[in-house]
């Protein structure tokens, strides 16, 4: 019969008959079109909703293109017994993917790198001293991965924190930029990410104009860095507005 654990045969997902897909753009080709028809400096439309999970103290759902993320916040609640006394609060982050998030079926394991990046992006924004001796748990689940997963997780998590009523200096909005050949492409999708020469991720608090997390990969020259950072900062402030509206709508809806 089926589904005997331990005796599952090895499986593979059927690939396209063609061995390799042609690259989505050619080198030095300046006027290629992005696979989803966006402009280079155009973000995907963002959809945010708070209160996605009832049993959590705060939660949010974010959808940008095919990237779908849900984040729950629990706490502030008692820190684990083994933890030493701390006069500031603790932040605990965990990011995991569903097995069906990626085109190839994954294992659905925790993503340690994302977890620590999320932690670093958020800790600067949260007023940890407002909840001593306790822990705030931020758990994220990537339902579907469609590129730029981490920035979406970060933005969504800050919204969930706001929904949970955790004191923050500002919302954290995050955006990534991919460098493809000579072009800078904002908010890349999965396909673009797999061809990128370099990437830049920026998380910031838009109204304080403070960067909480920043990473680069690949080779960047100074003018490119300036341009990419400016692009990200602008996009973050726009994203911040969208997030703010979402919170306001949720608040006014609950008042009614």
């Amino acid at each position: 019969m089926a589904a005997k654990p331990g005796s599952v045969p090895t499986t593979y997902s059927p690939n396209l008959a063609q061995k390799t897909r042609p690259p989505i753009f050619k080198d030095n080709d300046l006027d290629w079109v992005r696979p989803d028809g966006r402009g280079f400096h155009q973000c995907r439309p963002a959809f945010f909703r708070t209160g996605a999970v009832n049993s959590a103290s705060g939660s949010a759902y974010a959808e940008l293109g095919n990237t779908k993320v849900i984040v729950s916040v629990f706490g502030p609640r008692e820190s684990k017994k083994a933890m030493m006394y701390s006069d500031t609060g603790r932040l605990n982050c965990n990011v995991s993917h569903t097995t069906f998030a990626t085109p190839v079926r994954g294992q659905g394991l925790d993503h340690k790198e994302f977890s620590s990046m999320l932690h670093k992006a958020l800790e600067g924004a949260i007023m940890l001293e407002t909840f001593p001796k306790t822990t705030v748990d931020v758990f994220a689940l990537v339902l579907e991965s469609g590129g730029s997963d981490l920035p979406v997780v970060i933005s969504c998590a800050s919204l969930a924190l706001a929904d949970a009523g955790i004191m923050m200096y500002d919302l954290v909005a995050a955006v990534s930029v991919a460098c493809l050949g000579k072009n800078l492409v904002i908010d890349p999708i999965l396909e673009e990410e797999s061809y990128q020469d370099g990437s830049l991720l920026l998380a910031c608090m838009p109204s304080r104009n403070e960067v909480t997390q920043l990473t680069f990969t690949g080779e960047w020259s100074t003018p490119d860095i300036n341009e990419a950072m400016q692009l990200c900062l602008d996009a973050c402030s726009k994203l911040g507005k969208v997030m703010r509206t979402c919170l306001k709508e949720a608040a006014s809806a609950s008042q009614e």
Partner: protein
């Protein structure tokens, strides 16, 4: 191999001597140390626990004596790479103030300026079993990197690129908190940061090591590189030290030349002969160095010791290659930074990296020469 003179007791000089030897002195001790233009007064109890420490003669006995009975032993603490400010125990308010004050005056605890590195010592070829290895010491930070190459098959998605992986391990010898699985979090964080800074983007652009140069037969055979880092002793700035060790290990690496014996058809793996005599050397000029700028107060410093790291508000690690291009960047630490400050840090890092690359290259060359 030029083994350094056993640096017995070198660490017993300076401040740590106060802590260390105090254990053997049966009474409370006041240590007065005149350094540069400051005078440090350190009061320790019998157990070596610093009761108070102040600079310029302002010695306040503010710490209540009751506190002494709580912790009968000096707390051996390590502020790791990820240590957040305030979490580091073992530094008194006076000590913290002293560190911060020194940095503000451009005169750090060990007499360095803000943008000066500690002396770097490089030893290469210390692990004969590996294809390449190096040990780098930066002050009391001590790391080993080894490179091992294994014949493998490139992935179907990128048939012209070999796999390069970096794993870092934190030995519990460096700090008791790395015991068991305690070092795992830091190890992953360091590995990820190094991969980000040294291996370039997804398409391989900007990588220090060219993954196409390791391919023997496209789509069939390639050398997979496994780079292992081991932290033996940690006194801050692990990332820079590890990156330097990896650079040194790679320039020490010789990969055996491979001849393809018979051209295989279809899906078969071609047979290969591994040569014993001819070795392939890497061109390591393109490998970037990592410069970590740690922000303490309003200023930033390079090559922070663990005491200084405990006082940081945030730190930015920037990897810069010889051309002055940024090859990777990671930020850590909670506090936010103004974008203009980040840009300024990048330009400072570029400036510092020039000296660092030159210094490191000459150290590597000297180490290689002494090895032969």
């Amino acid at each position: 191999m030029a083994k350094p003179i056993p640096k017995v007791g070198s660490r017993r000089s300076g401040r740590s001597s106060a802590r260390k030897s105090a254990r053997r002195i049966p009474k409370g001790v006041i240590h007065v140390q005149a350094s540069f233009n400051n005078t440090i007064v350190t009061v320790t109890d019998v157990r070596g626990r610093v009761i108070s420490w102040s600079s310029a003669g302002t010695c306040g006995f503010k710490v209540s004596l009751r506190k002494k009975s709580v912790n009968p032993f000096p707390l051996n603490t390590c502020s790791g790479f990820c240590c957040t400010p305030k979490e580091m125990v073992g530094l008194s308010a006076g000590e913290k103030h002293f560190i911060q004050g020194g940095i503000a005056q451009d005169l750090r605890l060990d007499g360095r300026k803000r943008l000066t590195y500690r002396p770097i010592y490089v030893e290469t070829g210390i692990i004969p079993q590996a294809h390449g290895s190096a040990r780098v010491r930066l002050g009391a930070t001590d790391v080993i990197a080894s490179v091992k190459a294994e014949l493998g098959k490139p992935s179907a998605l990128q048939p012209d690129k070999a796999k390069i992986a970096i794993y870092v391990d934190c030995s519990p010898t460096a700090a008791p908190m790395f015991e068991g699985r305690g070092g795992e979090e830091l190890s992953t964080e360091l590995s990820v940061a190094l991969e980000r800074c040294l291996l370039g983007g997804k398409s391989g652009a900007g990588a220090g090591i060219d993954p196409t140069s390791l391919v023997v037969v496209e789509g069939k055979v390639c050398w997979d590189l496994y780079i292992d880092g081991l932290v033996i002793s940690s006194d801050g700035n692990l990332l820079d030290a590890l990156a330097a060790a990896i650079k040194a290990a790679l320039s020490n690496t010789g990969i055996p030349k491979v001849d393809v014996a018979a051209e295989a058809t279809g899906d078969e793996q071609p047979e290969v002969n591994i040569s014993d005599e001819e070795f392939l050397q890497f061109d390591t000029t393109g490998i970037p160095v990592i410069v970590t700028l740690t922000k303490v107060g309003k200023h930033y410093i390079v090559d922070a010791t663990s005491e200084e790291e405990s006082q940081m508000s945030s730190a930015v690690s920037i990897s810069v290659n010889r051309k002055g291009h940024v090859c990777g960047l990671t930020k850590r630490g909670g506090a936010g930074l103004d974008p203009s400050i980040i840009l300024d840090m990048i330009s400072v890092a570029k400036h510092v990296s020039e000296q660092l690359i030159n210094k490191l290259d000459s150290e590597i060359a000297a180490a290689e020469a002494s090895e032969e």
